[in-house]
């Protein structure tokens, strides 16, 4: 596939042949414009996988399986949106999975032990996520500890708080939150994906059309330059840590409400998996770890591709164990392809 792309780009970038290429040229220009979008590669992969799995198992696109797919895309995509903002501004949050696990417990504690109403409890829990993000940001930006280390510490700290306060036992969804609220926040079939799409749409606009997004790119692309231009780089970075924490908390609440249990084991051996899946989704979707570039829609597509693989393998009857092999190869392959395509884009016309 990459070879045809190269040919197309090379052909489109080369000198125009005189006459006789009118329609061809339009198609080629459209293709060119499409390929220049960062999300293009991952969209093609996603569509390719749909075609493959649907032809292998006709129930892949059935109603029930689409619900499955949406539910195993949404929580990771929501966490990935935060990671994209952070990665673009040149940082990373390894503690997002722990925050994801803590948040539904916060809801449980607030409602069952402190008698808080469900909606305020959800809002407060998301704010606790933001607070954890603030802690990450403060230690990283003000105390100048690399975010990789800061958030690694925070991962164990928050995970430990979850295990200690819950005594490592799962909890029930609080009775007051059951019913309408639980359906709105995760239990209803399409609830998670609707929240996810709203969040993706919102932050896509934030990243591409607002000052906050522009400054996020500037901070990640040229930190000193951004500071010289008078951008408040500390505020941008800490803000993005807080957004990531809040989104991780919200995704955790949705996921707990959907699965109808508040599970502390996510903070054990699996606590890294939510975060790593989210980072993988962001990276597969075209976000550079080096900062300065990334796309929220790409992260959604990345999360969707990972869900397709997990779900499709399951349907075909391949065990879950080789899934990680595929995931690893997918990350490596997409990174290599991204570097390669970025070079092509750069070499091509504007």
């Amino acid at each position: 596939m990459s070879e045809t792309i190269e040919n197309q780009v090379a052909a489109a970038g080369g000198p125009r042949q005189p006459g006789g290429v009118g329609r061809n040229l339009i198609v080629r220009t459209a293709f060119d414009a499409f390929m220049r979008r960062r999300e293009a590669t991952i969209l093609l992969v996603a569509i390719g996988l749909i075609i493959y799995f649907q032809s292998a198992r006709s129930e892949f696109l059935s109603h029930d399986n689409l619900v499955n797919l949406s539910q195993s895309t949404a929580p990771f995509a929501i966490v990935a949106v935060g990671q994209v903002l952070l990665l673009v501004s040149g940082e990373i949050d390894l503690s997002a999975g722990a925050t994801f696990t803590l948040a539904p417990f916060m809801v449980h504690y607030l409602i069952d032990f402190y008698g808080v109403f469900p909606i305020p409890a959800i809002v407060l829990s998301v704010l606790v996520g933001c607070l954890i993000g603030f802690g990450n940001g403060f230690v990283t930006v003000v105390l100048k500890v690399p975010s990789f280390v800061t958030t690694l510490g925070m991962l164990f700290l928050v995970g430990g708080i979850v295990l200690t306060t819950s005594h490592a036992f799962p909890a029930q969804i609080p009775e007051a939150a059951q019913g309408t609220i639980q359906r709105w926040f995760g239990l209803a079939e399409w609830s998670e994906i609707i929240w996810c799409l709203l969040i993706v749409a919102f932050f896509h606009v934030v990243l591409t059309r607002t000052r906050w997004g522009l400054h996020t790119i500037a901070v990640g692309g040229n930190l000193l330059g951004a500071r010289e231009a008078g951008i408040k780089t500390t505020r941008i970075k800490i803000g993005n840590f807080m957004i990531t924490g809040g989104l991780a908390a919200f995704a955790g609440i949705l996921e707990a409400f959907r699965t109808q249990t508040i599970d502390p084991s996510l903070s054990g051996a699996d606590f890294a998996s939510v975060m790593f899946t989210a980072v993988a989704a962001a990276v597969i979707g075209g976000t550079a770890l080096a900062g300065g570039s990334g796309t929220v829609i790409g992260a959604l597509l990345g999360a969707f591709v990972l869900a397709e693989l997990r779900n499709g393998f399951n349907l075909i009857g391949i065990s879950a164990n080789p899934f990680n092999i595929i995931l690893g190869l997918a990350i490596l392959g997409s990174m290599i392809l991204n570097v390669y395509l970025a070079n092509l884009r750069r070499a091509g016309r504007t």
């Binding site: 522009l214 500037a218 951008i231 750069r346 504007t350």
Partner: protein, 259 residues
Amino acid sequence: MTGGPNVTEPPEVLRVEHIAKRFGAVEALSDVSLYLKKGEVLGLIGDNGAGKSTLIKIICGFHQPDAGKIIVNGEEVTLKSVDHARSLGIDTVYQDLALVNELTVYHNMFLNREVVRWPLLNNRAMRKRARQYLDDMGVRIQSVEAEVAKLSGGQRQAIAVARSVYSDAKILLLDEPLAAMGAKEGALILDLVRDLKDRGEVSIIIIAHNYAQVLEVCDRVNLLQHGGITYDKRRAETSVAELTDLVVAEYRAHRTKGG
């Protein structure tokens, strides 16, 4: 000097007095005083590491001095940030240009002064204005939507200069604006400085290593040496040879002392 009875002299827009700055054990500036009059172009020269960029970064609010006074338009100010200095009309073209490779030409030109139709960026207005500014300056760039990473050194410099010139700056600080430029592009920037001077609204401090180019545009030259200003002459009273001698003499003196 300020008490002089000469009324035809243009007013001072900037005066710094006894500025000192150290970074840890390194004393970058020990006692710097200089002044800038309205519409004047002041050339600031000095060897590498003399502290020229540090001085510029103090005047534009990026660094805060350890001691000394900054007086803008007759009022003593404590510059808290780049934004603060900018609100007083002080703008800078940094040596490193402060451009973001990942952003387009027009986003770079409006970085941190974006045109906003709340809550969104007004990209169309920025594109249009960026195009117009560059055309006015005679800078040739294919598209303002190009990523800055794709441009040549001279084009990048031109964007950084255009950004400051069109920000309504009253005091413009140019830190080596000719460094990455070809002869043609360098001439373009010098023409621009001359244009600004003719209009008389903007006062400029320009740092450059090419003394011939500095003398082409400036009214006065200051030499920064040993953490202070050691030389202050009008253009007519000096020459490239003299300036070169001043800097080289210092180097020779050092060498004979050391060896």
